[in-house]
């Protein structure tokens, strides 16, 4: 799923050793796993089911980072296609409801705050990051960064 190239570019820039795979054995054997994603949560879940990766990802004990839809499918359920997800984070993914002042998709640079993870080492609260999404995970005990678009939501879990 999604635009792998920008993730690949960053990994190349960082000099990381990586491969792109949908093979369960390769995923299990990896030191770290990235789950990128662009598009649609229901479609992403369908692809994970087809590739036989749902239980594999749920069983991983090494660090796993979900990005964008990859993060959303790590939640319990998504309103996008009304789909049950990986249920790693006990929270629900909802759609922003547009109003006169609230554009959907939430698109552009917005500030993140309440940073509560060493993932954000070197990044200060109030930093701008680029958001492009219509769905968001609700706040929950696993929230490690927040942003506000109409209401406060989990920018990272």
């Amino acid at each position: 799923m999604g635009n792998l190239r920008s993730v690949e570019n960053v990994l190349k820039r960082l000099g990381a050793e990586f491969c792109v795979t949908a093979d369960a054995d390769v995923v299990r054997a990896a030191d770290r796993v990235l789950l990128p994603g662009v598009g649609n949560a229901a479609e992403a879940m369908e692809n994970l089911h087809k590739a036989g990766l749902v239980d594999v990802i749920r069983s991983l004990r090494q660090p796993v980072l979900g990005i964008c839809v990859g993060m959303q499918v790590m939640c319990r359920h998504s309103e996008e296609g009304d789909v049950d997800c990986l249920n790693i984070f006990d929270t629900h993914v909802k759609r922003f409801v547009p109003t006169a002042d609230l554009k959907v998709p939430h698109m552009g640079w917005n500030k993140i705050g309440n940073l509560e993870s060493k993932l954000f080492k070197g990044i200060e609260g109030g930093s701008y990051v680029y958001f492009v999404h219509s769905f968001y995970p609700e706040l929950c005990p696993d929230t490690i960064a927040t942003a506000t678009h109409g209401k406060m939501f989990s920018a990272a879990l």
């Binding site: 635009n3 190239r5 920008s6 570019n9 554009k103 959907v104 552009g108 640079w109 701008y128 492009v132």
Partner: protein, 252 residues
Amino acid sequence: MVAKRIIPCLDVKDGRTVKGVNFVDLRDVGDAVELGQFYAKGGADELVYLDISATREGRNTFTRLVERISDGINIPFTVGGGISSLDDASRLLDAGADKISINSAAIANPSLIDSIAARYGSQFVVVAIDARQMEDGIWRATTHGGSRPSDKELFSWAREAQERGAGEILFTSMNHDGTRQGYPCDTFAQLADTITIPIIASGGAGSVEDIAEVLTVGRADAALAASIFHFGEITVAQLKKELRERNIDVRL
């Protein structure tokens, strides 16, 4: 709050950016990657690269350029020009484009919006509308650089594009484009009342005041400009600083 965006637009022909002055610090103003990096460093929020090549060979050159842009630039970028099929969109996504912009092809075949959005998500699809206000007062979407009026009316077409899955509308008034007299802010505000997806204002910026007005009175979410940046009249950084002084939320 999500900040208002400032988006320089670069025209590319046969792999080279066209028009623009030679900025200090820039070795090659025709190099799309180097010029993009220059704008990114100056605080541009996104970039738009528009392929104006007329030949197949030029288009292939553009695809290879998009790969280089993706490798060399760390802000989101949109590519447009000559995209008329899902395959074209796929090729540019694979090359690393964050978004694609479609215009004439969407008017000729509106379901193209549905198919690209269904495959890659709405965030990937910008629908560009070049509209001209006709003598009867109706804003009509045009194709082929504004020369051919279509049967689409601006507001209903924008709404249709949104319903089909567009993630943003890039609206250019062909009455104002190139005049440097400012934007039709009432029309932009009416468009903001019509749709709920973000609106990028293009065509007509001659001053900081024009851009400030379209972002406030016109309620646009982003402003796209070419000449005022390319000819070095104002830098992106200076523009954003002046917008901030007018209490407009921009990323500094």
